[in-house]
């Protein structure tokens, strides 16, 4: 089938019911998108289809024919990183890093439709699972990318402090 991935049209030998995730990972070697659960419960496989965040592990490839599929590999570039990628670095978000592609893609879709999300907006949109517990840094990084100065939500304390015993 013909698919449009990251702005390029690719032809793949893909059964109609094969989930998009495996087309990306095993047929196109776009391994930035991760497998986590296979039942759309964890969000590690999040990509954009026509600008919407979707969980690609349960989305048949045939459903995205003629649509614009974007993966983490196209979120930004070394020369022009996405604002979220810059914020992720500034807030030192990732630990093991496995869920972070999905987190970033979910966050990018959120900012696209809501450039200045509130904490509640972030709560509702960011249902991806992270076993390393990077959540408060994810929140801080989204606010930062959205222009942190405009945000008056609860302060996130991530700064370690040296305190004399």
């Amino acid at each position: 089938m013909n698919l449009t991935i990251n702005g390029r049209t690719v032809q793949t030998d893909t059964p109609a019911d094969m989930p998009l995730l495996w087309v990306l990972r095993d047929q196109l070697s776009l391994t930035g998108t991760k497998f986590g659960c296979g039942v759309a419960a964890c969000g590690a496989c999040t990509v954009h289809v026509d600008g919407q965040a979707v969980r690609s592990c349960v989305l048949p490839a045939s459903a995205v024919v003629g649509k614009d599929v974007r993966t983490i590999e196209s979120l930004g570039s070394a020369e022009q990183p996405h604002a979220l990628q810059q914020a992720w670095i500034a807030e030192q978000v990732p630990q093991c890093g496995y869920c972070q592609s999905g987190m970033l893609m979910a966050a990018a879709a959120l900012l696209k439709r809501n450039p200045h999300p509130s904490d509640a907006d972030i709560d509702a949109a960011m249902t991806n699972l992270c076993r390393c517990g990077t959540y408060q840094r994810v929140r801080a990084a989204i606010h930062r990318a959205a222009g942190a100065s405009q945000v008056t939500t609860a302060k996130v304390a991530t700064q370690a402090q040296e305190v004399a015993a």
Binding site: P94, C96, Y98
Partner: protein, 755 residues
């Protein structure tokens, strides 16, 4: 067995005798240049450090990056001593030399009470125990990442290796320029003399390799520029653009994919397999039967064009399974059996102080409580996987493993070759938490690769297989009993707990060299109970080691993960009974443990303990030492829709010398979230031998919306580094549970908190 006897025989006395530690001199961990991989243009100066032509530094990385930041922390130690920017340190996977073995991890298995080593000098028995185990560990060379030991273990050898390399480079420059070495400076990787000459490391490396300087010592603390700073992690960029390479991201020419199905009944076997329908599917190539390997249940793998084809094939195989010969595992039955053994057996005494028996007989008041904790799965975000190629009598594996030395041995055994025919590539790990100290999935991948005619195969588990075939945190039960005198002072504390011991089973599966003919008492069962800092005059702590048959493994913070819930909840109960504030009660018991007291006070003051909170909120506190670090946490909790909601967690930690405070803070945040998930919901049930939870839908995880704000405060210290990856986890369950008690007056004695 007497305690003294087994301390000396612990950890595989058989292995110790084989390697003859007793007669061997202590060995340096500097290593020879030959220990490093030979690479074109690079010059190795010892077993850890190579200098590249462009002057950058190559560090042999002997620990696995699973989120804890070791790739950054180790590079910082080396960059500090060599006076190069952190960005100039490249990592190369360490080879197989025994210098890369983790000595600190084995030292952590010694069952000494931490208060014994609080003072300036350690008691003789501690010194002897550590000497013996260090020797053994040094000979065995087990390359493993676990026990929160990476920085502690690398602290001396890495700084020495880098300092020695620096001295060689400076010595080479001094000889070339005919100036005293003492007049040479090194700044940002540039070697210079005030009279003019300068060179980068690459220009001096060949000459430096010819000398091994003597009398080298690492920098003094006052001269550190990098250690102790919040340097940005070196792995963040790759983890924000999809380029970070995890085990599942390995892609090789002609690679095929394999899916695994194992007996859904733990420990079960294959009665029959009908592969016809599977092999008829497009893209499905082979079905390979798998024996029960290294603790896994038996099953089969299906090889296909992609992971999806392989998984479709695996579903289509018609398998008949057979229950394990000892009968089906069942957690309800195990829970009852655990209570029975806890009642009947006296167990192994890990700690005995004063005269608890006599004190109990003369007590004015007795307080008793029973606590339990369930089995838990690791649920790393990246499920188990390994990529393997078996070709021309050699084996190559690419694996997210915490224990490459055992992975190598397991791969060799599976392929029937000697270990020197096996090459292990350690990838990034999508979480480890102890699960990847096992080698079951390694052996499976090699077995399948032996059947694919030299093609590389990536074997991976579905989430369902991963959750249903874990090595679970063991179920534990404990009874705690305290007595008071007529004035209401607590006089004695007795704790007895029961549950499966992990270490003996793990050794059999993953490190057979350490496994002995009989099970030695396992410190991990009793850690967090026998080693409390509180100054009760009479204490007795024993553990009953059971063998229930469920595969059990090391789960982030191991015994501490449940034992801190038992001990720190019960301490809170005693505060209630004696009508004292939980903070004041703990303070009054820490006269002989000033570092613990300081940590407790720091957490309490930063959390404004005692100040007013919004209606419906309460605080709980817990204090716990593990892996060489002391942590106190204060949790602010309310109830929302009948479910506890944790708003804020203030952490204080004394982890000795800090290499990177930002990574310490990250690890505290991480441990709090993982521990909170477990405390609220974590539970694995087994019925008919089958694990009942199979995905995140019924083994839920904390999400961003409910994640607390975590603050970290670090005690400044000049002690040697303690652990950081695990110590933040144990206190969260009791801190939350204690807050719930403050809120509602209801005491939780069983995990998870949300039934």
């Amino acid at each position: 067995m007497k305690r003294r006897t087994w301390i000396l025989s612990a950890l595989g006395a058989t292995g110790a005798l084989v390697v003859g530690w007793g007669v061997m001199p202590s060995r340096s961990r500097l290593g020879s240049p030959a220990a490093m991989l030979p690479t074109q243009g690079d010059v190795a100066l010892n077993g850890w450090i190579k200098i590249a032509q462009d002057g950058s530094v190559v560090l042999a990385m002997a620990r696995s990056e699973m989120g804890q930041g070791v790739h950054t922390a180790w590079a910082m130690l080396v960059a500090e001593e060599l006076d190069v920017p952190l960005s100039r340190v490249r990592l190369e996977q360490a080879g197989t030399d025994s210098i890369y073995g983790n000595v600190s991890m084995l030292l952590g298995s010694l069952p000494f009470h931490p208060l014994e080593s609080e003072g300036g000098t350690k008691p003789t028995k501690v010194k002897v125990g550590e000497w013996v185990v260090s020797k053994l560990a040094r000979e065995l060379g087990i390359n493993a990442t676990g026990g929160s030991t990476s920085v502690a273990d690398g602290w001396e050898p890495l700084r020495m290796a880098a300092a020695t390399a620096r001295a060689s480079l400076v010595g080479a420059a001094a000889a070339q320029w005919k100036v005293p070495a003492s007049e040479i400076t090194v700044t940002a990787g540039r070697v210079q003399h005030a009279s003019g000459p300068s060179a980068h490391f690459g220009e001096l490396a060949q000459a430096a390799a010819a000398s091994t300087p003597a009398g080298v010592v690492p920098k003094e603390r006052k001269d550190w520029k990098l250690i102790g700073t919040a340097a940005p992690r070196t792995d963040v960029l790759a983890k924000t653009n999809g380029s970070a390479g995890f085990g599942l991201d390995v892609r090789l020419p002609d690679m095929v994919y394999a899916a695994v199905r194992m007996s859904p009944m733990l420990g079960g076997s294959v009665a029959s397999l009908d592969s016809k329908a599977a092999l008829a599917l497009p893209g499905v190539q082979q079905v390979v039967a798998l024996d029960a390997l290294h603790g896994a249940s038996a099953g089969f793998a299906v090889v296909g064009q992609t992971t999806w084809h392989a998984r479709q094939g695996a579903k289509a195989v018609v398998a008949q399974w057979q229950q394990r010969p000892q009968g089906a595992l069942d957690t309800q039955a195990i829970a009852a059996e655990l209570q029975g053994q806890l009642e009947r057996e006296s167990g192994f005494t890990f700690f005995d102080k004063g005269n608890t028996d006599a004190t109990e007989k003369s007590a004015s008041k007795v307080v008793e409580a029973s606590y339990t904790a369930p089995y838990l799965a690791h649920a790393t975000m990246e499920p188990m996987n390994c990529t393997a190629q078996v070709k021309n009598g050699t084996v190559e594996i690419w694996a997210p493993t915490q224990i490459p030395s055992s992975a190598r041995a397991a791969a060799a055994k599976a392929a029937g070759v000697s270990p020197d025919k096996v090459t292990v590539h350690v990838t990034l790990l999508g979480g480890g938490f102890g699960r990847r100290l096992e080698v079951d999935f390694i052996a499976q991948a090699v077995k399948v690769a032996m059947a694919t005619a030299g093609k590389p195969v990536q074997l991976s588990w579905s989430r369902e297989e991963d959750m249903g075939h874990d090595f679970y945190r063991p179920m534990h039960a404990a009874r705690l009993k305290a007595t008071m005198d007529a004035q209401g002072q607590v006089q004695s504390l007795r704790i007895k707990s029961a549950g499966d011991a992990i270490s003996p089973r793990w050794m059999e599966r993953a490190v057979p060299l350490l496994a002995g003919p009989v099970d030695m008492p396992d410190k991990t069962t009793a850690e967090g109970l026998f080693d409390l800092p509180y100054g009760f005059a009479h204490q007795h702590m024993a553990h009953v080691a059971t063998t229930m048959g469920v595969p059990v493994g090391f789960w982030r913070s191991v015994g501490h993960s449940h034992n801190a819930f038992f001990s720190e909840s019960f301490i809170d109960e005693l505060a209630t009974v004696t009508q004292k504030d939980p903070l004041e009660f703990r303070r009054s018991l820490l006269q002989d443990a000033p570092r613990y007291l300081a940590v407790l006070n720091l957490a309490a003051s930063k959390a404004q303990w005692g100040s007013a909170l919004p209606a419906g909120r309460a605080r709980g506190i817990a204090l716990h030492e593990s892996f060489g670090s002391i942590v106190a946490e204060v949790a602010e909790v309310s109830m929302e829709g009948g479910v506890p909601r944790v708003h804020r967690v203030v952490c204080a930690i004394d982890c000795g010398t800090v290499v990177n405070p930002a990574i310490v803070a990250q690890q505290m945040e991480s441990a709090v979230v993982m521990g909170l998930t477990a405390a609220l919901w974590g539970k694995i049930d087994i019925a008919g031998g089958v694990v009942q939870q199979n995905n995140f839908t019924n083994y839920p995880m904390l999400q961003l919306a409910h994640a607390p704000v975590v603050e970290t405060h670090i005690i400044a210290s000049e002690r040697s580094p303690g652990g950081v990856g695990e110590p933040g986890l144990p206190p969260i369950a009791p801190a939350v549970s204690n807050a719930l008690f403050a809120l509602s007056g209801q005491r939780h004695r069983s995990l998870p908190l949300v039934a």
